[in-house]
């Protein structure tokens, strides 16, 4: 079951960057209208997830950060954590007119479905978009079954 645990003390994100209108099913469990994630202004980063026959993919938009600023952890309980800190660009002798981008440290944890092999997880970070590839265990990969007409 997906349970994203929030870290209320640290996250300073003022709001979700872009909200999808509907919450879709995550790994077969529904996210109903009363699901707190629907109004999750303190959950950062927003994640998108999809799968194909061999992998599960999780994506997050994390501009300004580099892979070295991030900590991506998959632990023994099959939980995926994304942690990091986004620092404000240092500027002296001037003033900030407007600050819409959030800064501060963040941490988000989700539970992965059992069919993911946590030993072979890889991550790629390009143009501020983080993509985590989680290969499925061999036995969980979808196999097409040939149906022979007799």
């Amino acid at each position: 079951m997906l349970a994203t645990r929030w870290q209320p003390v640290d996250t300073m994100w003022p709001g979700m960057k872009r909200l999808q209108e509907e919450m879709e099913q995550w790994f077969g469990r529904g996210a109903g209208m009363n699901d707190p994630r629907r109004f999750a202004h303190s959950v950062f980063p927003p994640l998108n997830a999809w799968e194909d026959d061999s992998n599960l993919y999780v994506e997050a938009e994390l501009p300004e950060l580099e892979l070295s600023d991030l900590e991506i952890i998959v632990n023994g309980d099959n939980q995926l954590s994304i942690k990091g800190e986004r620092k404000q660009p240092e500027r002296e002798n001037g003033s900030w007119h407007r600050q819409e981008r959030g800064h501060g440290s963040f941490s988000r944890t989700c539970e992965l479905p059992k069919y993911v092999d946590s030993d072979t997880v890889t991550a790629e970070f390009r143009h501020g978009v983080l993509t985590i590839t989680l290969p499925k265990r061999k036995e969980a990969k979808t196999r097409r079954i040939e149906v022979k007409a007799s």
Binding site: L2, P14, G15, M16, K17, R18, L19, Q20, E22, M23, E24, Q25, W26, F27, R37, H41, P46, L47, N48, A49, W50, E51, L56, E61, L62, P63, E64, L65, E66, P89, R91, N93, G94, S95, W96, H97, R98, Q99, E100, R101, H127, G128, V129
Partner: protein, 131 residues
């Protein structure tokens, strides 16, 4: 060319989809910093590559349009918390800007636009003579 909306405020804290151009676009979040010499705009444009970025200044309006290369066209999302699409935003700059010296860079999904102020606009300290 359809109407372009020039406004500095975004609603709430969620990026709104603006239906003013051909397709739906997202309004990227920006930070604006200023000192005596220049204004600097920092914008979050994840997923935009330099070829897809268009920054245009026509006094006094700065227009930023970032094409996000579609990365998930044929994918059915299991879980979606954010949408993916082009970015578009315009700003009306209140200062006189030296247009020749405007520079911009895109790194790690962040666009930094430097708008140096024109010489005549820079604050001048006025010496006060005392009788």
């Amino acid at each position: 060319m359809s109407t372009t909306l020039t406004r500095e405020e975004t609603h709430d804290d969620v990026a709104q989809v603006e239906p003013t151009l051909g397709g739906a676009t997202y309004s990227p979040r920006f930070d604006i910093w200023e000192n005596d010499d220049e204004m600097i705009l920092y914008g979050d444009l994840p997923g935009v590559m330099p070829e897809g970025l268009d920054v245009h200044f026509e006094n006094p309006v700065l227009t930023i349009h970032g094409k996000v290369s579609p990365r998930h066209n044929d994918i059915k999302f299991l879980h979606g918390e954010y949408g993916i699409g082009d970015f578009h935003r315009t700003f009306t700059i209140g200062e006189a800007i030296d247009t020749q010296k405007i520079s911009a860079e895109l790194q790690n999904g962040v666009l930094t636009v430097h708008l140096p102020k024109s010489e005549k606009v820079k604050p001048r300290r006025i010496e006060v003579q005392c009788c």
